[in-house]
């Protein structure tokens, strides 16, 4: 089934999926922390729009609540908190020199193709839109992991973790018309608590090794040599 035969909702969801994938790529190549957090907020906004669209077209009003929650948590609160911490720790001027940025980006493109390859066998049992959305969300998850691997700053790791959660959320919205409300509330609360805990950890790591560069943790020893 070609895209021009799909209805408008499907086209819009597919475009949103592509844009969410694009924001993941943008995050992967970003060396500045404040811009990374901004792109993360942008991804959250796209998720909010997707959820609202799904709520409107599938006529399931409880999705409006999860759209609201996404807006408040992932677009406003968590980016605001991360931004405040970056500014507090005076890291907004640091530019993280990514080792071979182009290779990481091409690896990301490879991961996207890989996630389609993995999901290809379920073509027979599901609709085209579900396959595509699932594949994009799987690739967002994998790209989040790649972000955590390739960056060295702890703040970037947290953003990668949240991006993984975004990918799962996207899959849940598009494929199954949203998770049950209880699950969604629980996950949202977990993410919130995780964000707060990460904030505390930042300060602890910073006071103990005087930097948030996790590569320097390799050099920690229990006894002085």
């Amino acid at each position: 089934m070609n895209i021009e035969q799909q209805d408008f909702y499907t086209q819009a969801i597919l475009s949103m999926a592509a844009l969410v994938g694009l924001t993941s790529f943008l995050m992967l190549g970003q060396g500045r922390l404040l811009r990374l957090i901004f792109v993360f907020a942008l991804q959250g906004l796209l998720l909010t729009l997707t959820t609202a669209l799904a709520a409107y077209s599938l006529n399931s009003p409880h999705l409006y609540i999860s759209a609201m929650m996404t807006l408040i948590l992932k677009v406003i609160f968590i980016p605001w908190m991360l931004r405040r911490q970056v500014l507090l720790m005076n890291m907004h001027r640091d530019v993280e020199a990514l080792k071979n940025n182009t290779a990481v980006m091409l690896g990301g493109a490879g991961l996207m193709v890989f996630s389609y390859y993995v999901l290809h066998p379920i073509v027979q049992t599901s609709s085209a839109i579900m396959l595509n959305a699932l594949a994009v969300s799987l690739s967002v998850v994998l790209l989040g992991m790649l972000l955590m691997i390739s960056h060295r700053q702890a703040v970037a790791h947290v953003v990668g973790f949240m991006a993984i959660e975004n990918g799962l959320f996207f899959a849940a919205i598009v494929a199954t018309k949203g998770m049950p409300m209880v699950v969604e509330l629980g996950v949202a609360f977990d993410v919130l608590v995780a964000a707060v805990l990460f904030g505390i950890f930042f300060f602890h790591i910073r006071t103990s090794i005087d930097s948030l560069d996790v590569d320097r943790m390799n050099r920690l020893h229990e006894v002085d040599q």
Partner: protein, 314 residues
């Protein structure tokens, strides 16, 4: 009749290109709180240059003196291929989009050769920088163009635009990516601000200017005109491929007038967008240009992938 229309359209291209860059300069001046020159200033500059006698260096070979004519005619030929106000013209049928990229490459080759020919340090430096940038920009542009041609399953521009028009409004993820990639490539190839600054004469920033530093008189006028044509060509490509609504599909007087109006509005809007981005963005270092262009290539690649994966039949 059709051939006459094709010639008129090409002439319109050539005549309107300085106006577009005048409008761009006007918008930019107003955004930066400067007094803008009149919209006709590029025409006056060209006229002034054409009247002057060209001064040619003693050691210049025939390449140096012939290059402006070759570059200008290559750009005019490229302009004859791109549909400006009407589709299905005989010139558009004779060459496809890969030929168009070839025309650009041909003009660029002679520009770089002319920069090297005179033997000054600046000319060689500008040529080497231009070739570095274009070798990275060309694959990105081809990727973006291939996304379109795969959707329409033809490499002919006019047929592809007709295909997009006939489908009506379809939200395509691949077109979003291809459009961004093409915009980034257009900014790099026409020497606009994040990559090159067209109004400066500083050693560190010159790319296009460094190559044409030795030109004067009518030679310089032709090269300036060709680069204005190139800017307009990219603008028309972006406007007509991705937002083709309004372009004339038959040759009635009404449709043609409407097509002219539509393309002028689209180009004016694009120029405003470009002026805003040039005001906001600072010129980047030369060594960061490859990052910028590899991002453009990545966008093109993503467009291609999302066409194959998200849109094509399974």
């Amino acid at each position: 009749m059709n051939w006459l229309l094709a010639v008129i359209q090409t002439l319109l291209f050539v005549a309107l290109a300085p106006l577009l860059s005048g409008w761009l300069k006007w918008c930019k001046c107003h955004l930066q709180n400067r007094n803008a020159p009149s919209l006709l200033q590029p025409y006056r500059d060209l006229l002034k240059l054409i009247r002057k006698q060209p001064v040619v260096a003693e050691h210049a070979s025939w390449i140096f003196t012939r290059s402006p004519y070759i570059i200008f005619s290559a750009m005019v030929l490229a302009a004859s291929v791109v549909p400006l106000i009407a589709l299905d013209l005989p010139t558009a049928a004779s060459a496809d989009v890969i030929v168009l990229v070839g025309f650009f490459a041909f003009a660029r080759f002679f520009l770089a050769l002319a920069g090297l020919d005179i033997g000054t340090a600046f000319g060689g430096m500008g040529s080497s920088r231009e070739m570095t940038i274009s070798s990275l920009a060309e694959p990105a542009m081809l990727m973006a163009v291939f996304t379109l041609t795969m959707t329409a399953s033809t490499t002919n521009l006019s047929l592809a635009i007709t295909h997009v028009l006939n489908e009506g409004l379809v939200l395509r993820p691949s077109f979003v990516f291809a459009m961004f990639a093409l915009i980034l490539v257009a900014i790099a190839e026409t020497g606009r601000v994040p990559v090159d600054n067209p109004t400066t004469h500083l050693e560190l920033t010159m790319i296009h200017e460094a190559m044409i530093l030795e030109y004067s008189g009518r030679h310089l006028a032709l090269i300036e005109w060709a680069s204005q044509l190139k800017l307009m060509l990219y603008g028309v490509l972006i406007a007509n491929i991705f937002l083709p609504w309004g372009i004339a599909q038959d040759f009635s007087f009404h449709a043609l007038g409407y097509g002219l109006l539509a393309i002028s509005c689209k180009l004016a809007a694009l120029a405003i967008f470009l002026a805003i981005s040039e005001t906001l963005v600072a010129k980047m270092r030369l060594f960061r240009v490859q990052e910028y262009l590899s991002f453009a290539y990545l966008l093109g690649l993503l467009g291609m992938l999302s066409h194959i994966i998200l849109e094509a039949s399974r």
